[in-house]
């Protein structure tokens, strides 16, 4: 049965992979991006989907999108938050402003979205939320302290929302991906020497992943097959965290 699913940050590498899997299953998709060019690309690729401009850092965008979805669908069966930013930077290089900006996008924006979209989830059929954490929110790594702290906060949001919303039958889970090639990982790996990149890859027993590897986990957690799973932060990391 087609479900009504909103993917925020759908033009990100992971968001796009999730949209492709969900679209192939015949779900109704509402996709967002803050980049007009990427919105146009998604409109061509997902001809039946609704595509809207949305910036997670703009509070009015969240309220506006909620109003639009209320008008168009009446409720939400699934929500995937796939936006975010990352950076590899030693802690003594982080300015207060840069750290606050990352926390604003990766954490604070989710708090706002949880608040804004709860009424829509309450009107959904077996509603389920999936957040994107990171294995860097589980383990430590040089240069990843601020990003890792933000992703640990995402995992914490997923766990607490799961408990808070369980009486309302809304499930909330997160995935914690390892390294998957993407513009964000290029930013991180781009500042490393080839030997350092090889070392990072070596820490993934199954090597680097693909966006679809993570997308299938997201889709599973979203779907009714996972109806007894909530509050989980699922590593999808090629064995990185098993060591």
């Amino acid at each position: 049965m087609a479900r009504r699913i909103l993917i925020l940050g759908a033009s990100s590498t992971l968001g796009l992979a999730v949209a492709q899997v969900l679209g192939a299953e015949g779900n109704q998709l509402w996709l967002t991006s803050r980049d007009p060019q990427k919105m146009a690309d998604m409109s061509r690729q997902f001809v039946t989907a609704r595509v809207d401009k949305f910036d997670a850092l703009v509070p009015e965008d969240a309220r506006g999108l909620r109003t639009e979805i209320q008008r168009g669908w009446g409720g939400l069966d699934g929500l995937v938050c796939a936006f975010g930013s990352g950076a590899l930077k030693p802690v003594h290089m982080w300015s207060d402003q840069a750290a606050a900006e990352m926390m604003n996008l990766n954490v604070q924006a989710l708090v706002r979205l949880g608040r804004e979209f709860l009424p829509l989830l309450l009107k959904g059929d077996q509603p389920s939320v999936v957040l994107i954490s990171s294995i860097m929110g589980v383990v430590g790594a040089a240069g990843m302290s601020v990003y890792g702290a933000s992703k640990a906060a995402v995992a914490s949001l997923a766990r607490s929302w799961a408990i808070e919303w369980a009486p309302r039958r809304i499930r909330v889970n997160a995935v914690a991906p390892g390294m998957v090639p993407s513009p964000m990982s290029d930013t991180i790996l781009g500042s490393l020497s080839p030997a350092q990149v090889a070392a990072v890859q070596g820490r993934h027993p199954l090597g680097f992943g693909e966006s679809k590897d993570v997308a299938y986990a997201v889709v599973f957690l979203l779907g009714p097959e996972a109806k007894w799973i909530t509050g989980v932060v699922l590593p999808v990391d090629g064995g990185y965290s098993a060591q």
Partner: protein
């Protein structure tokens, strides 16, 4: 950015105890390790807007070698 401003920022980045000069040996600085190189790339990107190729700092031995990589972005 002026060369002396960049040198001051480079000193902070590499946690140098005194002022840096072009002749300062990078190996004498406690912050010059693999993560220090990442920090310097980040500094160069943020302060002068230059994106250096991966691993470009590996061959640098003196502060002057780093200055040479970004000289076109610095003023006197």
């Amino acid at each position: 950015m002026k060369s002396n401003e960049f040198l001051a920022k480079l000193g902070e980045t590499l946690m140098a105890e005194g002022s840096l000069t072009p002749d300062t040996q990078l190996s004498s600085l406690s912050g010059w390790d693999s993560m220090g190189m990442v920090a310097v790339l980040s500094l160069i990107d943020e302060s002068v807007g230059a994106s250096l190729p991966r691993g470009s700092l590996q061959k640098c031995e003196r502060v002057g070698d780093i200055l040479g990589l970004v000289k076109s972005h610095l003023s006197e």
